[in-house]
Symmetry: C2
Subunit: 178 residues, 2 copies
């Protein structure tokens, strides 16, 4: 579908050049479409942003597979996947910052809803499940951010390798401890 072609190109662009690189014409070029195509599907820039953010959400949601038998392992696997899908994840961070001045984006972008995190903390035997759920979410998001754009992006293990996975698993285990 032509719309997906466009939103995918938009995601690439945002990852490579930042939000500033997201212009109708740049998307046309990136997608190899004639000039005006993006503008026809998303007349305003705001619409274009919403379009690519929705696409992002769909793509990322599909990649979450939690296994209650090996919770830390499956979370670590998910994080490692997001590190491998570097561009998608970078675009998501750009979108999260954008959501600061564009609140309707927010709802689309949150990975782990609060209730889910609370239930998880409860199942793990945490004292104050609501608060602990938030902390766990923060820790796990932190791992991703640290490895993608923080200090760990230059010094950490290469994403997609066994070493990377094991490192993440250790960290997630710690994050989940009551």
């Amino acid at each position: 579908m032509r719309k997906d072609l466009i939103t995918d190109a938009a995601i690439e662009l945002v990852a490579e050049l930042g939000m500033r690189g997201l212009t109708h014409r740049a998307v046309d070029r990136k997608a190899g479409l004639p000039e005006g195509s993006t503008s026809a599907y998303f007349r305003t820039r705001k619409a274009l942003i919403e379009g690519f953010v929705e696409r992002l959400a769909v793509q990322e949601q599909q990649e979450i597979h939690l296994d209650t038998a090996d919770l830390a392992g499956s979370i670590a696997r998910t994080i490692d996947n997001w590190l491998v899908e570097r561009n998608r994840t970078l675009a998501r961070y750009a979108a999260m910052l954008e959501a600061t001045h564009h609140p309707e984006l927010k709802s689309i972008l949150v990975h782990s809803p609060r209730e889910q995190a609370t239930a998880l903390a409860q199942a793990l035997g945490h004292e104050n499940p609501e608060r602990s759920g938030a902390h766990i979410t923060a820790f796990i998001e932190g791992l991703l951010f640290y490895r993608l754009v923080g200090g760990g992006s230059t010094t950490g293990p290469v994403p997609g390798t066994e070493e990377s996975f094991q490192d993440l698993r250790k960290a997630v285990e710690k994050a989940l401890r009551p």
Copy 2:
């Protein structure tokens, strides 16, 4: 000094509108200076970005005061301050994303150097200090990010309050556990 006036205005702008809002003329307006001023001090946009990022680093570095007698408390206090200084911290995140396609910014932006984190983990009796130091850094950065732009920005306690501080302290204590 005129240069600081300009970089401060740039920081505000980036926080409020994102990197896209950072233009020479917009900075002029924000700083209340005549058109062309920003362009005179920072001829290229790249120079302007480097200028405001350097200023950011100076300002933020001054706000870190660690107290070894109450480590978790002093870290929590620092994070809470950064949440209160919302604009500065938002601008820093925008700059970190920018550093992805502009690597010379990276060195200016990292809060806690790796060696420092390793030493900390060692002092706390962690098994693998280098790895644990990285995890601690990631967890703590995660708390900040989560509360500033993640799920915790809407549901968490109000920054600057005692409740916020206590919540962060609890979390930091967990993050520091061996």
